[in-house]
């Protein structure tokens, strides 16, 4: 069992899994990891099922002292992860020992990183999920973000297989993002000039973006007269809602289940992580695709993702990590086992 002691909590560090599903009809938001791709790979690397609960760290990460060692993995944004002051590799399995200090700094690339513990984070399930929903103080660690002095433990021991995500599957987190959208369901609430502004303009991620929504600033999107409000209806993740001021908000994991602003478009599932990883100040451009194209992208993504997870699990990409001491300095050495096929690509 891995146990971490929180020395510093970071800006916003919460327990998240794939969300709390089945209660949106009753007004309960799903919450869950803002970037499910990075969460799931961190979990697989730590030897877990992809949907286990892990720590989501935002922009400025925590400082964690290891009280009991085990396997961990960090995936997602580059938050200057370090172990005992030395850079900690992302997107691969790492063994930590009692006394190690895992520290994270500011975001160099991306916005959110996930720290998975072998066995998954031990917090009670609430309505089928361990995700934290801050607004209702629900789930996670007492319904709140981590605080200094907290202890975070994993639930059960896991095996000791070391894995690494091959480079082609590690996303690039730049400062400008092109995001594909399917128009609708209320694109008819906007003037042609408004739609044009949305699809050609450059938008900047605003400082007040959070897990509920990525707020954007850029060319105003004009509504048709008197059509800036709708009778509230259900909102999926990635919905681009445009309030009366004309600045779009892309809804993320903590969105409410319903909303009263017209939705000009919805971000395709395979690009949602780009918004979860966009930092304040980053640039966003929207490109329309057909629903059929969005489904085609999703099928390809899922096939690749399932195949990647299978390869990581079965050890096709596994290796062994050794810790060696040379002249008083500790080095972690990664020895890959069956990489011949992968190298050929």
């Amino acid at each position: 069992m891995t146990v971490l002691y929180v020395e510093k909590p970071g800006l916003l560090t919460t327990v998240q899994d794939l969300g709390r599903h089945g209660f949106q009809a009753y007004g309960l938001p799903a919450a869950g990891a803002a970037d499910p791709y990075a969460l799931q790979l961190a979990n697989v690397l730590a030897g877990n099922d992809p949907g286990e609960a892990a720590l989501e760290m935002t922009l400025a990460g925590p400082v964690l002292r290891v009280l009991a060692g085990g396997l961990v993995a960090v995936a997602g944004a580059d938050l200057e992860a370090r172990r005992n002051g030395s850079p900690l590799p992302l997107w691969e399995t790492v063994a930590v020992q009692s006394g190690d200090v895992l520290s994270f700094g500011g975001a160099r690339r991306g916005c959110r990183a996930y720290l998975a513990l072998g066995g998954g984070v031990a917090v009670p399930e609430v309505l089928g999920s361990r995700s934290t929903y801050l607004r209702c103080r629900l789930g996670g660690l007492e319904g709140r973000a981590l605080r200094a002095g907290d202890r975070v433990a994993s639930r059960e021991e896991t095996g000791r297989i070391f894995r690494r995500v091959p480079a082609p599957f590690v996303p690039e987190y730049g400062a400008s993002h092109t995001v594909r959208v399917v128009p609708g369901p209320q694109d008819d609430h906007f003037t042609p000039a408004g739609v044009q502004a949305f699809l050609t303009g450059e938008y900047r991620v605003a400082n007040d973006s959070d897990r509920m929504g990525c707020r954007l600033a850029g060319p105003a999107i004009e509504h048709r007269p008197g059509m800036a409000d709708i009778v509230s209806d259900g909102v999926p993740p990635g919905a681009v809602q445009v309030p009366g001021h004309g600045q779009p908000i892309v809804l993320l994991a903590d969105r409410q289940t319903t909303g009263g602003y017209p939705k000009i478009a919805c971000v395709v599932s395979t690009d949602l992580w780009r918004l979860a990883q966009a930092k304040p100040g980053d640039s966003i451009r929207f490109v329309p695709v057909s629903l059929d194209e969005a489904h085609r992208l999703y099928r390809i993504y899922r096939e690749q993702f399932v195949s990647l997870c299978r390869q990581l699990r079965t050890g096709d990409m596994a290796g062994k990590q050794y810790r060696v001491s040379i002249g008083g300095t500790t080095h972690d050495v990664w020895v890959e086992e069956s990489v011949a096929e992968y190298r050929k690509r």
């Binding site: 949106q24 009753y26 309505l127 607004r135 209702c136 629900l138 509230s232 209806d233």
Partner: protein
């Protein structure tokens, strides 16, 4: 009945929209399609989110083609009138309207040129249709007569206690959990609308009805004590 519209909401959800206005008839169609879809158990169909005049249908595009799904939804929608649907339930919520629990009741009365008692009489006279649940887990959106309407607070309160009954414009609702909010608070119910340890955790359902009945503070406290003794923690 207006013709239903089927609109994409991204690549994993579809909106079935029955109209653009708020009416009990439109909401009834939403409820009946919601019930029909839950009963039908169509492969690939996930969560359903009923709201005033539309139903959001989440689906897995790997498990169902969009055209097949749309055809099925059209058939179900067209057949809604062919059968009897279960009558909506009415949940009675006792509410204590005393100043301790309803700090804005005087304001609402003054807004409408009524006495406190008259506001309570109007508020408890009708059963309200639950058009949808939203905002927080189990928060019911209810429409009332304009006679006791009141504007929202300019500065929302940081924490409104769970059970608080509020008014905003011509809507009334109940806060299921402690949360910030800008509605005018006229009373409080000891009944828990949200309890994660109960099955089901959320008391009310969209498409059903709520009726408020006034209770004194003693009865409020007695019901609250029973709810706590019911063995549910937190």
């Amino acid at each position: 009945m207006d013709k239903a519209r089927f609109l994409p909401a991204g690549d994993r959800a579809l909106v079935v929209e029955f109209g653009r206005e708020i009416s009990p008839e439109t909401n009834r169609l939403v409820r009946n399609l919601y019930l029909a879809l839950r009963e039908a158990g169509i492969p690939g169909v996930g969560e359903l989110v009923p709201s005033y005049r539309s139903l959001l249908v989440y689906y897995d595009p790997l498990a169902t083609g969009i055209r097949d799904l749309e055809r099925t939804l059209r058939e179900l929608t067209a057949g809604l009138g062919d059968r009897e649907w279960p009558a909506p339930r009415t949940t009675v919520l006792p509410v204590c309207y005393e100043p301790e629990y309803g700090p804005d009741l005087d304001f609402v009365a003054a807004c409408n040129g009524l006495s406190r008692e008259e506001v309570v009489t109007v508020h408890t006279r009708t059963a309200y249709l639950i058009y949808m649940l939203g905002f927080s887990p189990g928060f019911p959106y209810l429409h009332m007569s304009g006679r006791i309407s009141a504007p929202r607070l300019a500065n929302p309160r940081k924490c409104i206690p769970a059970g608080s009954v509020g008014i905003a414009g011509s809507q009334t609702g109940v806060y299921p959990v402690d949360s910030p909010g800008g509605w005018r608070i006229i009373g409080r119910t000891p009944v828990r609308l949200y309890d994660p340890d109960r099955v089901p955790p959320i008391l009310l359902s969209a498409g059903d009805y709520v009726r408020f009945v006034p209770v004194g503070k003693e009865e409020y406290l007695a019901i609250a004590a029973r709810a706590t003794a019911g063995g549910t923690a937190g």
